[in-house]
């Protein structure tokens, strides 16, 4: 297929439109992810199934969460969340490491604490356009 053969069907305006749209898409590629990720990522901490706190993933801080066994230290740093220390016997939650923007959760069963990452309100696909 010869590209020049097809080229003659395009007017200058067509090329301009296509170019502008490509530029538009490219700029969205660059700007959109930063804005969305910055606005939408929240750390939810629940104790015994009840929401104990909501924190932005973008602000570093240390959160002390009161569970049935005592205080669990949750650290938010550089867009990642990890459990630093916990009064539970096995420290599985500490060894779970860090979760980040992609989603995921840290769970400490003995101390009834779940640290979860979600958007403003998370949901999956509800509709498919046909």
């Amino acid at each position: 297929m010869n590209l020049r053969y097809w080229f003659r069907y395009f007017t200058t305006g067509d090329i301009l439109v296509i170019f502008v749209m490509c530029l538009f898409a490219a700029s969205l590629f660059i700007f959109l992810p930063g804005r969305l990720v910055a606005g939408g990522n929240t750390v939810y901490i629940t104790v015994n199934g009840k929401l104990a706190g909501r924190y932005s993933l973008n602000h570093d801080r240390l959160v002390l969460v009161n569970g049935p066994l005592g205080k669990t230290e949750v650290q938010i740093e550089a867009g990642k969340v990890r459990i630093l220390s916990s009064p539970c016997p096995n420290h599985y939650c500490v060894r779970m490491g860090a979760v980040t923007t992609g989603g995921g959760a840290l769970v400490c069963v003995p101390n009834r604490i779940i640290v979860r990452i979600g958007g403003d309100d998370s949901g999956g696909l509800d509709a498919v356009s046909r």
Partner: protein, 177 residues
């Protein structure tokens, strides 16, 4: 050039074609979730060029109503998306044709329509159904896809209009003589 009856019968054939394409297109297997070619828009754009905006808008409405009745989508979320995308794109194409019909050929107008269609659909899907901001990340991908399908549909429209016109010319000379 053509009388009222001729126009009516032509619009009827175009609507039937658009409906058929609309319904048949849902049978094409797609690999990427929401990706569609929007071939039915070829007919919408052809109508815009041949009969003007009002008929093109009516044809798009009718095509979506009939097509979704056939494919069993009527009243479903997908139907709402199709209506939103179809109407907004025909409005933008009509506007672009009116404003810049001299500068743009069918290709440019088709690209504008396709981009509008995809953006509006994604936006409606976000606002009404999904409500998760992360689907807006699809926006640039949808725009790039729309550019591709817009060019293909624009070329097809060009050929279709040329074909209809050449057939017209032949028929007119035949009946006149």
């Amino acid at each position: 050039m053509i009388d009222k009856t001729g126009k009516l019968s032509r619009l009827a054939v175009l609507l039937a074609l658009a409906t058929a394409i609309h319904s048949l297109e849902s049978l094409i297997p797609v690999t990427v979730g929401w990706f569609r070619f929007g071939f039915a828009n070829i007919i919408g754009l052809t109508t815009l060029y041949m009969f003007g905006f009002k008929d093109a808008a009516l044809l798009t409405m009718g095509r979506i109503l009939l097509g979704s009745l056939i494919s069993g989508q009527f009243g479903s979320p997908g139907f709402l998306l199709a209506i939103a995308g179809g109407l907004s794109s025909i409005f933008v194409m009509g506007g672009a044709y009116w404003l810049a019909g001299r500068l743009l050929s069918e290709i440019g107008i088709s690209v504008l329509g396709a981009v509008t269609h995809n953006m509006v659909q994604l936006w409606v899907a976000y606002a009404i159904f999904v409500k998760t901001q992360s689907i807006l990340l699809l926006m640039p991908v949808m725009i790039l896809a729309a550019i591709g399908t817009g060019v293909i549909n624009g070329l097809a429209t060009k050929f279709l209009i040329k074909r209809i016109e050449s057939l017209d010319a032949r028929n007119l000379t035949n009946t006149d003589s």
